[in-house]
Structure formats: C-alpha cells, structure tokens
Amino acid sequence: MRKPSFYLILLIATAAIFYIIFILRTAFRIQGVLYFTLIDDAMVSMRYAQHVAHGFGAVWNIGEKPVEGFTNPGWMLLMAFFHLLAIPTSKISLAIMVVSEVVLLANAFVIYRLCDGFQPGSKYAPLLAATITAFYFPLVFWSLRGMEVGLLTLLIDVGVLIVIRHTGDVEKRSSILLGMVFFLALLVRIDSILQIFIICVYFFCRDKSNIRHLVLPLLVAVLTILAILWFQHAYFGDFLPNTYYQKVIGASTWERIKNGILVFYQYAARDILMLALFSLAGVILYKDLRSWEILLLAGLFLVQCMYSIWVGGDYAEVEVDAANRFITQGMPALIILFSLVADHMISDLISAQQPTAHSKPRVQAIISIGVALAALLVISGKPWIDWAIDNSPLLKADMRRVKLGLAIAEYTSPQAIIAVHAAGQIPYYSDRRTIDLLGLNDPVIAKGPVTGPFYPGHDKWNYDYSIMQLKPDLIADNWVKLGDFMKGKTEYQELDNGMYLRKDSTLVNVYGLVNDTR
C-alpha cells in the first residue's frame, strides 16, 4: 500500500480535531455530572443494546415478548458491546460517538484511496473528495450523533474499493474480504442490499470472467439475508422489523412517494444539484469518464435517492435542513464523481495556463482544498453556520429528554409503567417499562391503521389501546392529538409539567417529579 500523503494526514488530523469539538459541544451537565447522549432514534437501539448486554435479550421491555424496534442489528450489537464495559450511563454515548469519529476518519481515508483507484495518478480528486466527504454535514451529524450511517457508508465504500482494485489475478483474498464486507453491511442494516446489488452488477458487467470471484461474496450476501430473515422470524415473530410495518403499512404507496419527492426536492436539492450537474457535464464532455466505474458511482448514489423517495423520506429533514440519512449514505459516490470531473477540469485549466504548476503538490493540495471548501459552502454551508450558532439540530430536545428520563428514574418506583412518544432517551435513562405510543416498539400500533397525516414513523397512534387498555402510570411527553384525547378522561390528571398521571397510581412521587421537570 502506498504511503498516505502528507495532505491526507493533515486532513484527517484536522477532521479528527473538528469531530472532537463537535462531540464536546454536545456535552451537558445534570446535577454536576457531565452527560453525553445520542439522537433519540439511536437511543432506542441503545435500550435494546442495554438489554442484550445484561442478558435479557433483544427486547423492548424486560420480560416481554421480543419486538424488533430497530433496523440496525449490527450497530445495536456494537452498542451492546460497550454496555458490557464498565462505562457509566452518562458517558456511554460518548463511546459510541468516538467509534463514529474513527469510522468517519477511516471513511475519509477510504474515499481518498477510492479516487486514486478510480483515476490512478489523479492530482486533485482524492484530496478534494476526502475533504468534502469528511466535512459533509449530514454524514458528520448522523454519524456523530450515534446513527449507523457512518459505518454503513464506510462498509459500502470499502466494498467498492475492494471491487475496483480487484484485478482478476490475485484475487481469492479480495473475494473473501468482499464477502465479509457484505456480511457486515447487511448485518448493520439489511437495506444495504440495494447498494450491494449495484456493486455486484458492476463487478459482473466490468468483466464477465469476474463471475467466479463473485460467487463467494454473493453467496455470503444471500445467506446473510436469509439468516437475518430467519432469525427475525424465529426470534421476533416477523420477517421484517416492526419499524417497517410501522412506517410502510397503511399509507398508500403514492402518498409515500409524494412525500419522498417533496422532501427530496425541499431538503436534498441543495446538497445534490451542484455536484450532480457538474458530474453530468463532465460525463458529457469527457469521453474517458464514460465508463463502468462512473456508472457504479452514479448507481450507488441514485439507488439511495430512489430508496429515500420510495420510503417517503425520513423524519428529521426539517430540523437537520439537509439531505436525509438514506441519501447521505449515497452521497460519497456523488462526491467522488464530482471530484473526478473537477480533477479533469482543473487539470485542463491549469495545463493550459501554467503547464509547470502541475508538479507542485502544495499547489495541488491548496487548489483541492479550496475547491472542496467552495463546494462545501454551497452544499453544507447553511447547516454548518446553523451548527456554529445553535449547536447540533435536535440536541436541545435530546437534552431535555435525558433530564426527564433521569427525573422519572428518581421519582417513580421501578414497577411504574410509563408511556412515551419519543422512545429514545426517556425509556433509556428512566429504565422503566415503557409503552411506545407511536408504535415503533409496539406491533399492535405498527400494524394498525394510520391515524395522522403521512410522516414517517410518526403517523400512527392508538390511545384507546395504549392508554386506556394498557394503563400506564405516567404519560411522559406530549404529541399533537394527545391533549384532545385526554379531555374528559377522568382516570388521568394533567400535571403542571404537561405530563399525565393515572389517578390511582401510587408509584409516582408527583411533587418531586413536577418540581424537577417543570
């Protein structure tokens, strides 16, 4: 392997410091203790991870029938590993963030190598692509806030790297490596099958004789999928995660696609448009860019966009004000494509003006970083400025919920049952049996009808069942229609902090809870 260039090391060092600042800015104190937390969705996986690590199995509530309220089993298992270590609850999220930081740095390195692989001897593309990827806001945000996006992106990028370096003579080892990467990617999130499929198609189309090297990875992929599906059915009772039913069942396909198109247009256009237009122009203008490799990159990106539209987008585009998690996962492919085109253009421009300038690596690095920063200003400028002013999106709500969860742990009996709409921090930090009112961890609601307007993961509830039948002691947070439903429900009283308490419950210290959370 070639020695990494000084500028790559410099980039990775700068990114590492920047990520540390990003992580440290998310820290907050509660009663003198320094806390770190992940985004609410990631904290759902953390609850499962905690239960797995403590030997209760992958269950939402200890002692209950398993339900699969997560879509990232591999990532959840990694979280479970950290729960085996003696890390205090307040800092365990920090460990996940540090892992994500390492993943992001590794990804920048892989992207650098990938560009080198796609266009050997390229002077600008590697550093350009690595810089844009390292500081692309949604990728940094979702990864450092605890989602599996970074790891999945890294695994796919490694898969692509193995495939493009596969020369056909070595290459038993790379087949095994590719099989391992496919296994891990599918384990982290089964949706990665789409990008794996694109990689396999490319591998086959580039050279039909590759079919024999493809057999092992394909076999691994197929067996992994079958194993995951079998396990899910055997363990959880359904072939697919409960979150799939919650998000997909009930809403019409067209309604989902319409919302997917809207959020794509509204929030992803800024991230995508410039890079895509330049890439398209490059492919039109430069014949040597019309290759299977370019199709592979375009495919990896487009399949994620189509997936995002198909599932109706994600839940937090408005808050993050950028492309969602699914599109983010495909963005490195587009960034590489853009960088290859930019490399051609810059090389041509400079060779026409100053043929000698090519030979100076410092000039090349400055140009690459300059172009990368200009591109970042357009695609991620606004969210980074917002981050500089307001810190990470959704963080304030996350912090409030951590505090709420801790207060519930302090002022309720361990036998108390709580109900929540946000099923991440509150259940995790309160460590109470929890009813998930939006159904991501409750098959009855997940498979039931849609109640509100289409909003991925947030449009189903059945209060008659969750509240009136299951009778939680405490309803810990609020949601659009809860107030209307609770009107005239004499079994519950509204507390001064907005929570609802079952009147006959003796498991809650109302005075302490209200005072601490008002």
Binding site: A281, G381, K382
Partner: protein, 577 residues
C-alpha cells in the same frame, strides 16, 4: 505550446462560448439559489398559482389572468401531480437560467478584450441578482424577452451570418416571456430598438427582418390562442372584460381623479374607498356598467405631471437602483477609455432617452410599479453595455481594441473599474439584506400558518372555515417560493380575482350567494384584514344594508419584523348587532 493549449480539453469545451457561459450561469444560479434566499416580489404570483393549483376549493383553472392560458394548461396537471412543489417558480428559475445563459453566450462570443467580457458578465449577473431574489412573473418575463431580443439582434449582426441556433433560442425566450406577460415584450423592444436605428451599420437589415419572422409568428399564435380560449369560455370572457375595465381604474390615476362622478353611479365616498382597498364583491355597486361609466368619464392620466415626474425620479435614486445607475456610469467611463464614446454616443443616448420617455409616459398615464422601473433601469444598463461591446467589436482591428494610451483614458478606465466594484459591492450587500428579509418573512409565515391551524384544531374557528381578505390579510407572498404552502384553513383573497369564474366556484362550494352578507350571516366565514379596514366595511353595511355590525377579533397576526402593509392585521368574525 500553442498547439498543446488548443488541444487542451478545457479550451475545447469551456472556452467555447456556449459551454463557458453555461458553466458561469450554473455556478451563479446555484450560489444565488442555495446561499441566498429568494422570495416573492409581490403577491400576484401566488394569486395566479392559487388559480392553477385550485386553492381554495380544489378546482384548478388554467386561465391565470395575467399570463397566457397556455402556461396554465401546462401547469395545471403538474400541480395536480404534486401540490407542494411550486412548478411555476421552477419554470421561472428554468427560464431565468436560459435567459442568463443566452446573455452570457452573447458576451462570451464577442471578439473583444477579456476585460470587456468580464465587465459584461459582471453586469448581467449583477442585474440577475435582483431578478432571482425578488421573483415575480413580470420581471422573469421581461428578462426572458430582453435576452431573446438580444439573441435575435446578435443573430442578425452584419459581422455574422444568420445563426439559426440563436434565432431558435431567441424565439423561444421571446415566446416564453410574452406568454408569461405579454406587455414585457413591447417594453423590451422600446428600450432596445431605437439603439438599433443608430447603429444600423452593425446590423444586416435583411437578416434582422428574417430573424423576427419566427418570433412574430409564434408570439402572434400564442396571443391568438389566448384570445380564442377566452372567446370560447364565455364566463372567463365576461370576467376578462370586467377585469380589463377595473385595470383602467386601479392602475391609472382615475381613483385620484374621481370626484362628483361617483354619485352618478350611486357610489358613496366609502364605496370608492372599498374599491381602492381591493374589496368590491357587491355586484350591484361594482357592476361592469358602473366601472365603464367611470372609465369613460374620468381622465386616467395624472393631473400633476411635475409631481409624477418627480415621483419617478425619486424612485430612480432609491438605494436599490443606485448600484445599477453606477454600472451605467461605469459603462460610459470605459466606453470613453476605449475611445468609443463618439461612436457609441448616439445609441447610448437613444437608450437613455427611450428609457426616460417611456417611464415618464408610464408615470403620467399609469401607476408605474417599482418592478417595472427596476426592469427598465436594468434593461437600459444591459442594452448600453451590449451595444457598446458590439460597436467596439466593429473596429477593423477589433480584437486589439484596448484602452487608449492617453492619460485621461487610463484615468477613466480605472475609474470605471472602481465604480463597477462599488456597484457590485452594493448589490452583494442588497442580496444579503434581501436574503435576511426573506428568511424572516418565511419563518413568520410558517408561524402564522401553524397558529391558524391551531385555531381550527382548538375549535376557535370553524372546521370548514373560509377566511376572506381584501388586500393585506394573510401574507402568502412571504412564503418560500419553492414550496407551495397554502394555509390549511381555506383562504380567499378578493382583489382582482373578484367575479372570476374561479371566485364564483369557491363561493358556490361554500354555499355563499353574497359575500358581504355571508360575512355576518354564515358562521364559517371570517374576515382577515388590517384593523383600519373595518371602519370602511362597517360603514358599507350601514349605507347599503342598514345594519350595524361589530368586528370581533379572534386572532392578531404577528408582524415582529414590522414588514410594511401588515401591521395590525387581525382575524375577525363579523357579527350583526
């Protein structure tokens, strides 16, 4: 060395005018659309979009009144496909992209010095910075017409053979501009064509005439189609007649010139006030016959010519226009520095005089809108710059035309550069201020929408509420132009939509016979307007229905950034006493 440069792909592709201009246009628009924040210039666009999107009521109408029905026919199915993507604004952005590309292509094709090209590019992009951040169908149409006219002129210059590509694109731009707003085509021509007369040598007259055949035919066909559509739609035809008559009162000086004439048609002073405030839903009072009487008997022109001229000049030296005037001064300075002033004097004078004459006429005969003055100034700046460039190119040793080697020429050259930099700085500053304003407006609008929805959810206003508003009710033009976000509560703005088939359809759907009566008779009909308006409406009820009403405020619309026209806007329920 030279050979290697010529073989270089960059030169082959990106220094070819069409690719170079495409690259510049793409970079510019991406920066302006994604780093800055466009907003609506006026509320007319949203009214037109609401017609074609079928809001309120859900029945789209392709005739969007101010634009050709062909535009509506194309847009209606798109809005039906996805109601929240604002297709019309996407169409505007696409048209603007092509317009800028066309202008830059002309500049990149000039056989002039790089400095001159840079100057030209800066001028075009500086002008477009205004158009793209203050989106209106008027200015988008005007810019498209102007770029189309210049492409057609470029195709018919004597130094070139007739270029079919330029003619095709020029025709398309002129056609699109005229479909969006027909009046912008004559306005563009009025500023540019006199300069052609004074630089006749630059153009091949035969080519010039040939180049205009196709645009003339297409524009005429578009215009005739619109007329035919009206002819075969009696309801729209009747409304169009009414609207054209109303325009002759609203958009001229007739409202100011009205005195005793109103009594002959039974109007009181209060009726005149209501008409001026965009509220004329009473068919008996505001009938077509009454409006025609006013048009016939009241002069539409300003009685104070000096006052109109002064108002126009005051608008001309407003902070928003100063940078563009500076660009014009800069053009004159570098024209002098290149020794072209003598040759360019007459065309430049023709452009400036036509601008002044046209606008003074408009100020005298009509109420001249800010956006029209902006476009005129920007058209004058662009025309001046392009004609000077063309004249400089005509020099026998054209490519070598450089700054004259006299002291004064050097001074004027550096002076022109400094003035241009100053102008660009001011425009950038304005773009930042406009962006800040638009961000504030868009977040305020979002808040208002949510609050109105909450009123409905809480049962404070009816579930099937219809909110009626004369001008300055709910500021829909504060919304993000790329996403169509009408209020979830059905909302109908009166004004020029009044008595249109679309308006009648909405009233039918809410089972309303008379809008003024419905305001106090029906429980689900509300009024949203400035508090000062209620006095006029109250008087209307006393004068015409002999009843007293009170206006019970339900909701006060926040205007924390104090945007003009929207202070003290409230939602009322009108209650009969």
């Amino acid at each position: 060395m030279k050979d290697s440069i010529l073989e270089n792909r960059f030169y082959r592709y990106f220094l070819a005018p069409k690719w170079g201009s495409l690259l510049c246009t793409t970079i510019f628009l991406i920066i302006y659309l994604f780093l800055f924040r466009p907003g609506y210039g006026i509320n007319d666009d949203l009214q037109m979009i609401s017609l074609v999107a079928g809001y309120p009521g859900g029945n789209p109408a392709p005739f969007i009144v101010h634009s050709n029905v062909l535009i509506g026919i194309i847009l209606a199915p798109l809005y039906a496909f996805h109601t929240m993507i604002n297709w019309e604004v996407l169409f505007f952005v696409g048209l603007n992209f092509i317009s800028v590309w066309a202008f830059l292509n002309i500049i990149f094709s000039l056989a002039t010095q790089p400095w001159q090209k840079l100057f030209g590019v800066a001028t075009i992009l500086a002008c477009d910075a205004y158009f793209i951040l203050n989106i209106t169908y008027t200015t988008i149409a005007a810019f498209a017409c102007l770029s189309g006219v210049f492409l057609l002129l470029a195709a018919s210059r004597s130094s070139t053979t007739l270029k079919k590509g330029n003619i095709a694109l020029g025709t398309a731009l002129v056609l699109m501009g005229s479909l969006l707003r027909f009046e912008m085509l004559p306005l563009s021509l009025s500023i540019t064509l006199p300069a052609v007369l004074f630089s006749r040598g630059s153009f091949n007259i035969k080519n010039l005439l040939m180049a205009w055949i196709a645009p003339f035919l297409f524009v005429a066909a578009g215009y005739l189609f619109n007329r035919a559509y009206l002819h075969f739609s009696p309801e729209w035809h009747a409304y169009n007649m009414y609207d054209q008559t109303r325009v002759l009162i609203d958009d001229t000086h007739r409202l100011e010139n009205m005195h005793s004439e109103i009594h002959f048609i039974g109007w009181s002073g209060n009726d005149q006030e209501l008409f001026g405030r965009w509220f004329f839903p009473d068919r008996r009072i505001y009938s077509l016959g009454h409006l025609q009487y006013l048009v016939k008997n009241i002069s539409g022109v300003s009685t104070n010519l000096y006052g109109s001229a002064l108002a126009f000049f005051n608008q001309l030296i407003s902070p928003g226009l100063i940078p563009y005037i500076l660009i014009l001064i800069s053009t004159c300075l570098w024209t002098q520095s290149y020794g072209l002033l003598k040759k360019a004097f007459l065309p430049l004078l023709a452009i400036v005089l036509m601008f002044l004459a046209g606008n003074l006429y408009l100020a005298w005969a009509w109420k001249i809108a800010d956006r029209t003055i902006y476009f005129s100034v920007l058209a004058m700046v662009i025309s001046g710059m392009l004609f000077v460039n063309w004249l400089s190119e005509r020099e026998p040793n054209s490519a070598a035309t450089t700054v004259q080697k006299t002291g004064i020429s050097r001074v004027t050259f550096y002076g022109s550069v400094l003035v241009l930099i100053l102008a660009l700085g001011l425009i950038l500053n304005q773009s930042i201020l406009t962006t800040r304003n638009n961000i504030n407006k868009q977040s305020a609008y979002q808040q208002i929408r949510v609050e109105l929805g909450a009123l409905q959810t809480a049962g404070i206003i009816s579930e099937n509420a219809l909110i009626i508003s004369p001008a300055h009710g709910l500021p829909m033009e504060w919304s993000n132009p790329f996403v169509l976000a009408f209020p979830s509560t059905q909302y109908l703005e009166t004004g020029w939509v009044t008595f249109s088939p679309f308006y009648e359809q909405v009233l039918r759907e809410f089972n309303i016979q008379s809008l003024p009566d419905a305001l106090y008779q029906k429980n689900n009909v509300y009024l949203m307007t400035q508090s000062s308006f209620t006095a006029f409406l109250g008087r209307y009820y006393q004068e015409h229905e002999n009843i007293s009403v009170v206006f019970q405020p339900i909701y006060t619309m926040p205007n924390s950034f104090n945007f003009p026209f929207y202070n003290n806007v409230q939602l009322y329920k009108v209650v009969k006493q």
